[in-house]
């Protein structure tokens, strides 16, 4: 019994693998969509950032001034403020937290 389950399962695995290799080899885009692998298309823009991240080190100083210290408040102004989470929108929570403290 145990043996036959194992055998069947091995056949299933082999069959799935062969079919998968066939599917991946075909240029059929419909089957690609069915895979449940949803490709992310944020990549091309990311490429521009790769330059900065990859070539980040140099021997130059900078004329950009870092304004350190008290001027910085924990207030977010980015896109997180447009996304609801179960805990609420980003910046509103932050402002509340600051008033409390």
């Amino acid at each position: 019994m145990e043996n036959s389950v194992k055998k069947t399962s091995a056949l299933v695995v082999a069959g799935a693998f062969a079919a998968a290799a066939g599917m991946a080899g075909s240029a059929d885009t419909a089957s690609a969509a069915k895979e449940g692998f949803e490709k992310c298309y944020g990549i091309s823009k990311a490429g521009q950032n790769d330059c900065a991240a990859a070539g980040g080190q140099s021997c130059a100083g900078t004329s950009t001034v870092d304004y350190d210290g008290e001027a910085w408040k924990y207030v977010k102004t980015g896109t997180c403020t447009a996304m609801e989470t179960p805990k609420g929108k980003g910046s509103l929570e932050a402002i509340k937290a600051e008033k409390k403290g």
Binding site: A54, Q57, S58, C59, G61
Partner: protein, 292 residues
């Protein structure tokens, strides 16, 4: 696998080159511009693989290359980071550059890396440390290195040697060569109120194996005096071109690099700067020919 033996037959010519930026990989490979050579920062090619190595290998097939380290902390009092030295060696072994250079500066203290080129006092004690570090680097990579004069903003009270004398002594004790950064001479001269011309006249030009040229930013200190920042974020000022001509007029004909690391312009704009440096080098060659 790329045949690196052909690279060794292409030493870096006494022409202009530029610092290679990822933003320009594609333009360079498409147009294969008539430029003498490229320089890269070793630390940007220390990953295992990926696009940086892919593009640098392809560009290396067409051009001579120099590798410039920015993280060895040769001027630091502590021991060199031997892991980092091994990584530098790996980059040098892989790309077989015509030149390898580093800075008279420190960037690590204890276990922290500060990602900036920080100044050291010039005295017997620091001289001994720098000499030991350069011996160690040259032993590790199995070749001569060039040491670059720094752009500095402060002076140590404990310095009792001139920078030029310090460099001369390092060369005498280690056999290393020098990388003369002409913009750094102008920046440091302005920041410390000395004559860049006089500095250059005292510089041991016979040991210069490479020249750097770059733009700088301008600021003022609390006393209202000009302070220049070595920002590599714009074109050279005329005074630095003039200092370069002064160096060339002393008979120095070595690979000359345009550095532009921040606010990097389009390839064509950078290439223009290199052509300008090439014209100065060519004019000097012509003058020599006429004199003969």
């Amino acid at each position: 696998m790329t045949d690196i033996s052909s690279w060794l037959e292409k030493p870096i010519p006494a022409r202009a080159g530029v610092g290679l930026k990822p933003e320009h990989f594609a333009a360079i490979l498409e147009t294969l511009p008539d430029i003498g050579w490229f320089e890269v920062h070793a630390e940007n090619y220390m990953g295992a693989g990926g696009p940086p190595h892919h593009y640098l290998s392809r560009i290396r097939e067409h051009y001579p290359l120099s590798v410039h380290g920015v993280g060895l902390s040769i001027g630091g009092e502590g021991r060199l980071d031997t892991d980092h030295l091994a990584r530098v060696k790996k980059v040098v072994d892989r790309y077989q550059p015509g030149l390898f250079s580093e800075h008279l500066a420190w960037s690590s203290h204890d276990d922290v890396f500060y990602n900036d080129l920080l100044p050291l006092p010039y005295n017997e004690e620091t001289l001994a440390t720098v000499v030991a570090h350069i011996d160690q680097v040259q032993d590790a990579i199995g070749r001569q290195m060039l040491l670059e004069n720094p752009a500095t903003y402060v002076v140590y009270k404990s310095s009792d040697m001139e920078e030029v004398d310090f460099l001369r002594e390092v060369v005498a004790r280690t056999g290393c060569g020098l990388l003369l950064d002409v913009n750094n001479v102008f920046v440091a001269g302005t920041n410390h109120d000395y004559s860049p011309q006089a500095y250059l006249d005292a510089f041991p030009m016979e040991h210069v194996g490479e020249i750097h040229l770059a733009g700088h930013a301008e600021s003022v200190d609390d006393a209202g005096k000009a302070v220049l920042i070595d920002a590599h974020d714009r074109a050279l000022v005329d005074q630095v071109w003039a200092l370069f001509e002064r160096v060339v007029s002393k008979g120095v004909r070595v690979p000359t690099l345009i550095e532009w690391d921040n606010d990097v312009p389009e390839w064509e704009r950078l290439f223009e700067e290199a052509k300008k440096a090439d014209k100065i080098l060519e004019a000097a060659h012509r003058d020599v020919a006429i004199a003969v």
